[in-house]
């Protein structure tokens, strides 16, 4: 295991249509860790996450200033399509491609990006991704089914598998369990812990559930109105939050 820096954000300012969303954000995220980005609605959590894979570029009138390095590469000066291939993303609402089978949902990204060269490699990769997403046992006999036959929680794990099929070193999750039942939530959390341990993945997850952040994260970034108000190891912040906003948030008062 290495403990280099996976993500280094320096003086990041993001505005959309002239309105500032993130103000002077500076954070360093170590490799092979789980980091939770917390904060109330509208604090810029999702924006920060979407800068990391340049999905922010899809929004009209967005302006991004500063420097964001992922594994040493300044992604703001890299082709956005290449940046997106470096990381996997899971969204707030399960969004498996409705026109593709369970298998093809996982396989599409790997196929397009040339990650699997042969049919056998692809089969193995799909199996690996579904296993890592803790979904393989439930779908191995019906890989050709459309995703709407799965429950919401299964669909979200399918989305996790789709992201993993890119073999990313960085995994981004935007409130992945906000619309999921408790059993599936725990499964996804377990999958994330294993990915960190077994695959050395760096995981960044946006959450507004303080309990979830405490359960699985190593570091917490607390955002409020576009400003990082506190950042540090989860144990320290959970026991002894330095900032009034953080303690209120952890107590569920925000």
């Amino acid at each position: 295991m290495s403990y280099g820096i996976a993500v280094e954000v320096k003086n990041l300012n993001v505005s959309i249509a002239g309105k500032p969303i993130l103000k002077d954000v500076n954070v360093k995220i170590p490799e092979s860790t789980i980091t939770a980005i917390m904060g109330p609605s509208g604090s810029g959590k999702t924006t920060l996450l979407r800068v990391l894979n340049r999905l922010i570029d899809l929004i009209e009138g967005v302006e991004v200033k500063g420097s964001v390095k992922i594994f040493g590469r300044n992604i703001l000066e890299t082709d956005p399509y290449e940046v997106r291939r470096m990381s996997g993303m899971v969204f707030q609402i399960p969004n498996p491609f409705p026109h593709l089978s369970i298998y093809d949902n996982v396989a599409l990204g790997a196929k397009i990006n040339g990650i699997a060269k042969s049919k056998r490699e692809l089969d193995e990769l799909v199996k690996w991704a579904l296993e890592k997403a803790m979904l393989w046992d439930e779908v191995k006999d019906r890989l050709r089914d459309p995703p709407w036959k799965l429950s919401g929680g299964q669909q979200q794990r399918l989305c996790l598998a789709r992201a993993l099929a890119l073999k990313p070193r960085l995994l981004l999750l935007d409130e992945p369990t906000a619309n999921i039942d408790p059993v599936n939530t725990l499964k996804i959390e377990e999958a994330l812990r294993n990915l960190k341990k077994e695959e050395d993945m760096t995981i960044i997850l946006v959450t507004h559930m303080p309990h979830q952040a405490i359960r699985i994260s190593d570091y917490i970034i607390m955002l409020y109105e576009g400003v990082v108000v506190e950042v540090g190891p989860t144990e320290e912040i959970a026991i002894n939050p330095k900032h009034e906003l953080t303690s209120r948030f952890l107590r569920g008062e925000m």
Binding site: L55, G88, N95, P98, I112, A163
Partner: protein
């Protein structure tokens, strides 16, 4: 004591059912009437109806409408081949860049084309293609039909593309797809039923048009297929011309043609529903 509420409710239900029947009655009237007038003609003429040209007006049997059937199939197919790629590409551009100046221009043009009398389309093609070539041609007819089709296919495709939830598009980008790949592998695939609906309506529209063909394909009732650069017949054109004559045989052919057109429509709608499955979002 009478139950006024349930009485009132029942009266309204009966009223709504009657009104609904009145509203759809014309559809059944058309189907039944055309079948009653058209089917006997085809039975009388036999296979000749589909493979030969119209008989002389004083002949014993009416003959057939092969030139019109072949012409309709040829020109509709050509029109579809011309119109669908143009319309789908334009719709893709519009959905991708909704505020672009080109989008606004295309949308306005398409909307006015939907409203314009189709005979004007025929006159436009007459001026642009028929006059320079110096003759009426099936190709000119196909181009006129394509111009009629484009705004339908465009409008339906654009709507279908815009109704694809953004989250799937984002998911496409998140796994490293390029813009063209997102459009082709995600958006168009999810919207396929809507695109097909637009194509179906466009084809139906083109198949039933008479006016755009008057100055372009013109009609050729005695040649089954003379090639794309010759005048060409079409079923609606044939109906329009034959029903106005006083000859019994030709009136019969017109009714038989109407029945063929009806069957073509039903086949078109059934096939288009069958070959493209709905994507459940």
């Amino acid at each position: 004591m009478p139950n006024w509420r349930s009485l009132k409710s029942n009266v309204f239900i009966v009223l709504v059912v009657i009104l609904a029947l009145i509203a759809i009655a014309p559809v059944f009237h058309i189907i039944i009437y055309i079948t009653l007038r058209g089917l006997p003609v085809i039975l009388e003429a036999g296979i000749e109806f589909f493979i030969s040209t119209p008989a002389a007006v004083i002949a014993e049997k009416p003959g057939g409408i092969a030139p019109a059937i072949v012409g309709t199939l040829f020109m509709t197919t050509m029109a579809t081949i011309i119109a669908v790629p143009i319309a789908v590409l334009a719709a893709t551009f519009s959905a991708e860049y909704p505020n672009h100046i080109i989008t606004k221009a295309v949308r306005a043009t398409s909307r006015s084309l939907l409203e314009v009398a189709t005979i004007l389309v025929g006159m436009l093609v007459f001026a642009l293609i028929v006059l320079p070539l110096g003759r009426f041609t099936g190709l000119a007819g196909a181009i006129a039909l394509a111009i009629v089709m484009i705004p339908y296919v465009y409008t339906y495709t654009e709507l279908a593309l815009l109704s694809v939830p953004k989250t799937y598009i984002e998911a496409g980008y998140s796994i490293g797809l390029k813009k063209a790949q997102v459009i082709y592998l995600v958006t168009l695939r999810i919207a396929r039923r809507g695109v097909m609906r637009g194509v179906t309506i466009g084809v139906a529209k083109a198949m039933g048009e008479t006016a755009p063909l008057l100055f372009t394909a013109f009609g050729a009732r005695n040649v089954i297929f003379g090639g794309p650069l010759e005048p060409m017949d079409a079923i609606p054109l044939m109906i329009f011309q034959f029903i106005q004559t006083g000859f019994e045989n030709w009136n019969k052919l017109a009714w038989g043609g109407a029945f063929v057109l009806l069957v073509l429509y039903l086949t078109l709608f059934i096939i288009s529903r069958r070959i493209v499955r709905e994507v459940r979002v």
